[in-house]
């Protein structure tokens, strides 16, 4: 079950990384409704 445990760690790392990267876009998500597009 080592592969299973390593996959859990990988999911945590990938998800956290995605949250950090996309967080900048997420914060400007309201722009979708005010400007029609998001800032990248």
């Amino acid at each position: 079950m080592k592969a299973f445990l390593v996959s859990l760690v990988a999911i945590a790392i990938i998800s956290f990384g995605a949250a950090v990267v996309l967080g900048t876009i997420d914060r400007s998500a309201e722009d979708v409704y005010s400007t029609g597009s998001v800032r990248h």
Binding site: K2, I14, V32, Y33, S34, S37
Partner: protein, 378 residues
């Protein structure tokens, strides 16, 4: 008197001309291509023309009823703010979307989930656990290496998280909220939404890894026809149709996961980055080349509505498929879980369920043993 008559006539003509010009100007102002009441074509790429025909020949001649009817029918005008979507005041497909979202999607989705659970329970009741008929040999061979198991669990665990949080989005308000109350449900749904959005990227990595690792062994071959004709030996004891590393059932699962998974990813990206993509319009253009007659002039908000319905329906379908996979990999078949647990499977299990692959592995092991030569004498 005659002079007065001429003066009056000139005055009347001049007044008539001025009035006619003014009336023409007013009409032009109202009905010209850029006039106040004219239907405005989309000023940006994100907008398109009205979805429904609008009678515009009598606009404002009946108190604006036609104009408001046109608004109700989804006419898109022009706005000066950057958000071009605001140019459409009423989008009637939103009503349809809500009815589908809260009606058939939830109803048939719950039928599907209940149906697969009932079907698996019935199968277990009738067939029982599929045993290794020749008993466990006590000797194992490697079925999946570490990388394969890692990719499988990366995909599997992320899918379970996405499935549970997705089910909460679809059914939570009806099922979870009455049990745990509004405050707890609000917190659960908020964190579930975060999990769903970000764990999705682990799912993408897992799906790509699985595709790369196993695509070569999931190309259909003639053994698959024999396997399918015998129902995979699932319904009768003592039947063991031929199979290489993956049998026909596993290949069907593989392609369902790959195609369904990428469909979920694409529709999920559409939802994660709203109004950035117009995937349904583009997909319908391609499908129309194949003979369908699907609408390609889809408003941006309608794109989002289609994406939510598709994403939820495809997610429910994949949950049903994976429930079947989980059953056969755990409760339904003796020795199957070891393949993804330790990576090692009993030789007799391999010979019964994947006889050609087992022969190939054992032949390779024998050849490797022979190439090493006999053990040196002490």
């Amino acid at each position: 008197m005659r002079r007065e008559s001429r003066g009056l006539l000139r005055l009347t003509l001049a007044a008539s001309l001025v009035l006619a010009a003014a009336f023409a100007g007013v009409l032009w102002g109202l009905l010209a291509p850029n006039g106040v009441l004219a239907q405005q074509p989309a000023p940006s790429a994100g907008q398109r023309g009205p979805a429904n025909p609008v009678p515009n020949s009598q606009l404002r001649l009946n108190g604006g009823a036609d104009m408001w009817r046109a608004v109700r029918q989804g006419i898109r005008g022009r706005v000066s703010i950057p958000d071009a979507k605001a140019a459409q005041l009423v989008q009637s497909q939103g009503d349809n979307w809500r009815e589908i979202r809260n009606g058939p999607l939830v109803r048939y989705g719950s039928y599907m989930l209940a149906g697969i659970v009932a079907l698996l329970a019935l199968f277990f009741f009738l067939r029982g656990r599929i045993r290794v008929e020749h008993g466990l040999a006590g000797r194992t061979i490697t079925r999946f290496n570490f990388v394969e198991r890692f990719a499988h669990w990366l995909l599997a665990v992320s899918f379970v998280i996405l499935g549970l949080t997705g089910l909460n989005i679809t059914f939570g308000k009806a099922v979870v909220l009455p049990v745990i109350g509004k405050p707890a449900f609000a917190a659960l749904s908020l964190w579930g939404k975060y999990l769903h959005n970000y764990v999705a990227f682990a799912f993408v990595v897992g799906l790509v890894l699985v595709l790369l690792l196993w695509i070569a062994e999931n190309i259909p071959n003639t053994y698959d026809v024999k396997w399918l004709l015998k129902g995979g030996g699932l319904f009768t004891k003592g039947t063991h149709p031929p199979a290489r590393k993956f049998n026909a059932g596993q290949k069907i699962l593989f392609w369902l996961v790959i195609l369904g998974g990428f469909s979920l990813i694409l529709s999920g990206l559409d939802l994660l980055f709203p109004f950035e993509m117009a995937m349904f319009s583009k997909t319908f253009v391609v499908l129309n080349m194949l003979g369908t007659n699907l609408p390609t002039d889809i408003a941006p908000i309608h794109e989002m509505q289609l994406a939510t319905i598709w994403h939820a329906a495809m997610g429910l379908f994949m949950i049903v498929v994976i429930l079947g996979h989980i059953y056969i990999g755990t409760l339904g078949m003796e020795g199957a879980f070891d393949a993804m647990g330790t990576g090692e499977v009993d030789v007799n299990w391999a010979r019964e369920h994947h006889p050609i692959w087992a022969d190939e592995v054992e032949a390779r092991q024998t050849a490797a043993g022979m190439s090493r030569g006999p053990a040196p004498a002490e």
